[in-house]
Symmetry: C2
Subunit: 428 residues, 2 copies
């Protein structure tokens, strides 16, 4: 089987070089050599020696090329990528992609077409870079009923939170973001990463392959890390928690939880140990229990490793005898309501700034009590200008009740500015 590469950026160049660099090692594993029939790219990549490669400037040449059996879609974006992938499929070519947005938003259409044509569409590289998490869920845990998945699946956000958590430095989000941009860990426009959209794409896919439900990017709850302050990180630490940006999905009786937001994670939890740009995904399943998968979530080498792992799978199974695209037979995908975030039940961290007057704690407690919210932990500290910070960890409570209580708390004369709320991780 021959490979056509579309896109020669960070991932494409990594894949190209990995095929030449580790070609012999791969041949030892799969018994044949992987060959590149054609590369489609707008411009050559300085790290790639293309002198003996058939290069075209039109990526659509690659999906038309009769020599190409497996198309690597590594151009990114969703418009051209969708056209390219659909044309590859209609030409009966297998597709390997690293494109999370494409799969999360157009996966149903793509997989439908692929099933009809009898080709595979693989996307290990779309989630958590070099960590074979798609394989672990679709295959390694295939005997299990998966109950939940929780992961640190955006390296940029995790890097920023880790830096902000450096004890004693009290760095602000904006400053760390600027450092991350200078270091190449964050894009010039960081919205996709820091507002949780990238993580939402990935979690959408994880949820489908874990539970056998259709892709529901339209219904995911998404919150990023731009509202997290160094004060929140400090108070969380005092209470025994680390703040991490998580994607959490859970399979319930009649709905699916699908949410991406910052979380307080107990320091003793494995996910609290995941620092910097690293990713980790924990999977709760009925037979295996909780298993976790950790590694680099991005970068040329790790992503290329995942792309070529998929290629090798297609070659080893002759492109036929393999796994359904979402890990479940398409006709058994079970449409399920995605839970509204207001229905979510869990504990939360609240931080209020109040004027430090007698009776203010009594008024706060009274409001919480009216909504049957009890206080699991509390910190009160003097802040600047006669203000006080009140930090509360609530018991497990319906989000709607908490919203209502927060609105009343915000209406108190003593309350200044917005109340911070961060959910507490509730899986183990």
């Amino acid at each position: 089987m021959q490979i056509g590469i579309c896109g020669l950026g960070t991932v494409g160049s990594g894949a190209f070089n990995l095929i030449s660099g580790n070609g012999q090692e791969m041949k030892r594993r799969i018994g044949r050599e992987l060959t590149i029939a054609q590369v489609g790219c707008r411009r050559d990549h300085p790290d790639c020696d293309l002198s003996s490669t058939n290069v075209t400037r039109d990526i659509f040449d690659v999906v038309k090329n009769p020599e190409v059996d497996i198309v690597l879609e590594l151009i990114g974006g969703t418009d051209d990528a969708l056209k390219l992938v659909m044309e590859a499929i209609s030409n009966k070519k297998h597709v390997v992609t690293a494109n999370k947005a494409l799969i999360a938003e157009h996966g149903d259409e793509i997989f439908g077409a692929a099933s009809k044509r009898g080709v595979q569409v693989r996307f290990e590289a779309a989630i958590a870079g070099g960590i074979p998490i798609v394989k672990a869920i679709r295959e390694g845990l295939a005997a299990n009923r998966v109950e939940w998945v929780a992961g640190i699946i955006n390296g940029t956000s995790n890097y920023i939170l880790t830096e902000m958590s450096e004890p004693g430095r009290n760095l602000a989000f904006a400053d760390v973001l600027k450092d991350a941009q200078d270091l190449g860990y964050a894009e010039a426009d960081p919205t996709f990463d820091v507002e949780g959209i990238d993580a939402a794409h990935k979690l959408t896919i994880l949820s489908s392959i874990a539970f056998g439900v259709p892709l529901r990017f339209d219904a995911i709850y998404t919150e990023g890390i731009s509202g997290i302050t160094s004060e929140d990180i400090g108070y969380a630490r005092e209470l025994g928690y680390t703040i991490r940006h998580l994607g959490v999905t859970r399979n319930l009786e009649d709905s699916v939880e699908l949410r991406v937001h910052p979380c307080l994670v107990a320091n003793s939890h494995m996910l609290a140990q995941v620092n910097g740009v690293m990713n980790a995904v924990m999977v709760g399943s009925d037979a295996a229990g909780a298993t976790m998968y950790y590694g680099a979530g991005a970068g040329s080498g790790p992503t290329a490793s995942a792309v070529l792992g998929d290629v090798i799978d297609i070659v080893r199974t002759d492109g036929v005898h393999s796994v359904a695209n979402l890990g479940f037979m398409p006709e058994t995908l079970e449409p399920k309501r995605v839970m509204e975030i207001q229905e979510f039940e869990g504990s939360a961290y609240l931080r209020l700034v109040v004027s430090d007057e007698p009776g203010v704690m009594a008024r706060i407690s009274t409001i919480l009590g009216q909504y049957k919210i009890s206080i699991e932990a509390l910190i009160q500290k003097d802040a600047r200008g006669g203000d006080a910070h009140v930090v509360i960890i609530t018991n497990s409570v319906l989000e709607k009740s908490l919203n209502d209580a927060m609105q009343e708390l915000a209406g108190l004369d003593e309350t200044k500015g917005d109340i911070a709320r961060i959910r507490v991780a509730d899986f183990s």
Copy 2:
């Protein structure tokens, strides 16, 4: 394809119940139902309803049964298990086993026979229970040159070390072992676990599937945890380390490191966070970098999850279009010298008990200096009866030089009893 189960102990009963309990979920994934043609067991298991199952008291009936396509070898041990597996293969049945000793000691013979007969032998459950580590290495990382593997692969040892590490309790190995036995975490005869033999079996297999080298259980260096004291754990903690029992294998230019022993692991390292009976395996590879796989290493559910994951793979690939047994084409397995432990180079923790006399530190340093061993960290503390404890972390040094230096140190008039030596983890 129909399944025959041999052995209905912890793992066999788990597999039996998982097939019935999650049969529908598995059917959604693979498009067909898994059926059990026959169960061979010495006695029924109280957790299994065998009323509609063909049960035999002779496990060899199962491998002769023409209805059986996949044999689950879950009897343990190596004598009967080897006979059973070889007969299953010669009857052209696929084999799934949880038996690490069988694969580590007789794998070459078994895989050779399986290749000839065109059947598969799968052993995900032999290593790290419910963690799909064999799949991750043979498939997920198949595009990589694997450089090293380091893992906590014996839950009993990790449980004992974790308990011994409880701050302030200073528990002795023997006492924690007894607790572990009472809790069912350790066998009545704990030798296999606490002396490292079980971990050596697993590491032998990991090394082969990582590097494509023949199974070399005969050449592995094995050391258990029975010599670890609570004092060592306390000193390690003062120096920023946790003591863990690791299997480490590394692919070098002209040899392979293959060693199982206690290690000092830096507290900031992910493997230092793995507590209790949990397992974790870290894999260093050239493209993906370091990835880690964490979960329950034993128990009925996790092991059954791995066994049935293998069964599902065989069914999905129709027993043919799949992965070579050791992940590499048999003819490409590369025999390599296994490094003698004396050739190993790394830093080490040493603990000496000396009579607290003037000049003793000078004599110790002089001896170390003669062997060009420098001191990276040092603790000296008064101990009972006018003795002192001297704890040293050396620089990276050839094990042979360190042995010689330790022999001279042991010969000093001031030295009392044996010198403790624990290697320091040297991967990242």
